[in-house]
């Protein structure tokens, strides 16, 4: 028989190894981020440097974004993106949750068929239909407007119901049945019972849909067709990396990227709890 001390030693050794391994992995994942921040503080211009630590540190790149708005109107872009993100995230989340609830909790004749139809619709490459979407929006006089962009981002939300549906599926049906016996309508069950028990998936949907407009530049570029003051940050910042401007504006691009990323990172870290702790204390035990 091996002694208890040996087991304890083996356990500690394994733990130390795991920590080291995690440390290495974290480095791989964080180095590009660190590099982004360093570049945003770099004093020297230019896209490529032969060193990592900048020779001089400055905040001028950040200041320029807000003062030098003639060619690149960063504050305006930021505001645009924020407005679009908030609106489209609210609409998207509402749609996703409604559709997932319908498919997970309600039973009606054509349910399976509808689920399959939505699934199939989601298979088409989205931006292929952009040409048609553009003309439909033009008919409604909504091209080159933020409203049009909100519509583009949230109209198709029903197609991504499956993750939320998968989540709703894990809530025991007995909860619904008990509520029905107590005289609750389906409407009450949706708003008062299922949604409060599904905070993680609500947060997940809110977050992912809030972040989408910050990253997309295909739809914006088609919809805005060069109307610079309606650009979002993604499209605007990408412009800075055009071949003619990249060496002049690379550090400003980095500064802008940091400014976009920081709020998103904070938001993400704050809501992380919802993913992880989930509803462990909630419905499944209830």
């Amino acid at each position: 028989m091996k002694s208890q001390g040996f087991y304890r030693f083996r356990k500690t050794a394994a733990n130390v190894l795991c920590h080291v391994f995690l440390g290495v992995l974290s480095a791989v994942w964080l180095i590009p981020i660190a590099w982004l921040i360093l570049n945003s503080l770099r004093e020297e211009r230019g896209a490529y440097t032969s060193y990592v630590i900048p020779k001089g540190f400055t905040l001028q790149n950040y200041v320029n974004l807000f003062t030098n708005t003639k060619t690149y109107n960063f504050p305006q872009w930021f505001l645009n993106t924020f407005i679009v993100a908030v609106l489209s995230c609210l609409i998207t989340t509402l749609i996703v949750l409604m559709v997932s609830f319908v498919f997970s909790r309600l039973r009606f004749p054509s349910r399976r068929k509808l689920m399959n139809i939505l699934l199939v619709l989601g298979m088409f490459p989205g931006f292929m239909s952009m040409v048609a979407v553009y003309h439909i929006l033009k008919l409604m006089n909504l091209t080159q407007t933020l409203t049009g962009l909100v519509i583009v981002y949230s109209a198709g939300a029903a197609l991504v119901y499956y993750i939320a549906k998968g989540f709703f599926d894990t809530i025991p049906r007995s909860v619904d049945e008990a509520a029905t016996i107590d005289g609750a309508s389906k409407n009450t069950i949706f708003w008062r019972i299922t949604l409060p028990m599904s905070r993680p998936i609500v947060v997940y949907t809110l977050l992912t849909s809030f972040m989408a407009p910050w990253a997309d530049f295909i739809f914006v570029s088609v919809l805005m067709k060069g109307k610079v003051d309606k650009f979002t940050v993604a499209l605007g910042l990408r412009q800075m990396l055009e071949r003619e401007t990249v060496s002049e504006y690379f550090t400003q691009f980095c500064a802008g990227s940091v400014l976009v990323s920081v709020p998103l990172v904070i938001l993400f870290l704050l809501t992380q709890k919802n993913y992880v702790e989930g509803i462990t204390g909630g419905s499944t035990k209830g």
Binding site: N15, C18, H19, L22, S26, P32, I33, L36, A47, Y48, Y51, V52, I95, V99, V102, L106, F108, R111, R112, M115, L119, V120, L121, G122, F124, P125, F127, M128, S129, A132, V133, H135, I136, I151, V152, S154, A155, G156, A157, A158, L159, V160, Y162, G166, D169, T170, P172, R173, K186, N187, F217, S257, V265, L267, F268, L269, Q272, E277, T280, K285
Partner: protein, 439 residues
């Protein structure tokens, strides 16, 4: 009410929608139906009819230039716009289909009301109908808004796209200057056999797309689960901190991280310069030329792992604890509970996610486009490069080449591949009879 009067009402209901309902006390419903009929007629008269008329030819008069004597300039005389005829023709057809459906509903409602009357029952009042919407028919309430959005901005545009594949809409047939028209299956023939360069390119890109999708999905999925398990392992300290490190990379928008990594890995990018300075390599490593495919797979791993980690962490914590408890009471060891509870549960909950990821990877536009733009270019390929996926090839055909017919043909092919795959897998793994298992 006499027999003949009932007949008149039924007859009237065929011509004037809502008459059947209104005559039997369902006034509000009747008015709504009648309003629908009126608006359909207006729509067709003022908008739809003209486009439907040109739908078969997609326009006959081409735009021309004529000399205007009084103004002394060349004036363009507007011709037909094939694209608008196609798009709004489809719209009119869709509205008509919707109207026909409503019409059938109207007749059915009329008969129902008649039947109720004969049996001496009172047909449901408007208020009762409304109330049932909050309960038995609640799905109608919840699905209305999503359905409108989908029909207008997804279904209609997609039908438009499908139609384009059967036309000759390309650079030389661009509205409003030029007309395009129907050509049947010519585009499909070209891509499959009659144009060897196109069909070979298609096969090669298809092969790479599938390899890419399988590899990318598998690496991210298992990598993410492994990472989640590692962080969740008993004895790991500061779990929250480790998780946050990886979560940060999710929150940075993809276009930022991808463009950044491209600069970082470039031939004269920072990584190469550093490695050269340290004397580890003599020549810069051509990540985007010699190892382009490996590089995009690796970068995608970097992007994808934190996502899976985050999602599976949530799921791991969500497994009902009583499952484990009862298993332990039955004498199951940690390995057995992992195999019999953790894995099946995880698979059940993540199956839709996994399928979505696979489909997402087939259409993973961002990673390829922002990182390599499909390059390195190759002479064997028709306007494409070695890392091009079907989707980026398609994108290039629309934006760079304006070859809409080829692009939408590709779109349909992608759709068929993905559609067949996901219908099958969704019904096998993620739905079917299993959906109640864990409820």
């Amino acid at each position: 009410m006499g027999q003949s009067k009932a007949k008149v009402i039924t007859g009237l209901n065929f011509a004037v929608m809502g008459a059947g309902c209104a005559a039997r006390g369902q006034v509000a419903k009747g008015i709504l139906l009648f309003a629908a009929q009126c608006s359909y007629i207006c729509f067709m008269v003022f908008f739809g009819a003209g486009y439907l008329a040109g739908f078969r030819t997609l326009g006959v008069t081409e735009q021309t230039a004529a000399w205007n004597e009084s103004l002394q300039i060349n004036e363009t005389i507007k011709g037909d716009n094939s694209m608008l005829i196609l798009l709004f023709g489809i719209l009119s057809l869709a509205v008509t289909a919707l109207f026909i459906y409503l019409y059938i509903v109207n007749i059915r409602l009329g008969f129902k009301a008649l039947q109720a009357e004969r049996e001496g029952r009172r047909p449901p009042t408007f208020r009762e109908d409304l109330r049932s919407l909050w309960n038995d028919k609640y799905h109608l309430v919840l699905l209305t808004l999503p359905a409108i959005g989908l029909l207008a901005f997804t279904v209609l545009p997609q039908i438009f796209m499908v139609c384009m594949a059967f036309t000759n809409f390309d650079k030389t047939h661009q509205p409003p200057g030029k007309l395009f028209t129907w050509v049947g299956f010519d585009n499909f023939k070209e891509i499959f056999w009659s144009n060897p360069r196109k069909s070979q390119t298609f096969l090669r890109i298809l092969g790479w797309t599938l390899t890419w999708a399988v590899t990318a999905t598998a690496t991210c999925y298992f990598g993410g689960i492994a990472l989640a398990l590692l962080i969740n392992k008993k004895g790991i300290r500061l779990k929250k901190m480790w998780r946050s490190f990886f979560v940060i990379t999710i929150a940075v928008p993809q276009f930022v991280s991808l463009l950044l990594i491209r600069q970082f890995l470039n031939d004269n990018g920072t990584l190469n310069i550093l490695l050269q300075n340290w004397g580890l390599i003599d020549q810069p490593i051509m990540f985007f030329r010699d190892y382009a495919r490996q590089t995009v797979l690796f970068v995608n791993f970097w992007i994808g792992v934190p996502y899976t980690m985050l999602i599976t962490t949530g799921i791991l914590m969500n497994i009902p604890a009583d499952l484990y408890e009862s298993a332990r009471m039955d004498g199951a060891g940690p390995f057995l509970t992992f195999r019999k509870i953790t894995v099946p549960y995880m698979f059940f909950v993540t199956a839709p996610y996994l399928i979505t990821q696979f489909v997402g990877n087939i259409n993973n536009f961002n990673v390829i486009y922002l990182l390599t733009g499909g390059e390195p270019k190759s002479l064997d390929y028709y306007k494409a490069g070695k890392t091009d996926l079907l989707i980026t090839w398609l994108y290039k055909q629309t934006v760079d080449e304006q070859d809409y017919k080829l692009a939408s043909t590709l779109g349909i092919i992608i759709f068929i591949i993905i559609g067949a795959f996901s219908l099958l897998s969704f019904n096998l793994f993620a739905g079917g009879g299993k959906e109640e298992n864990f409820q």
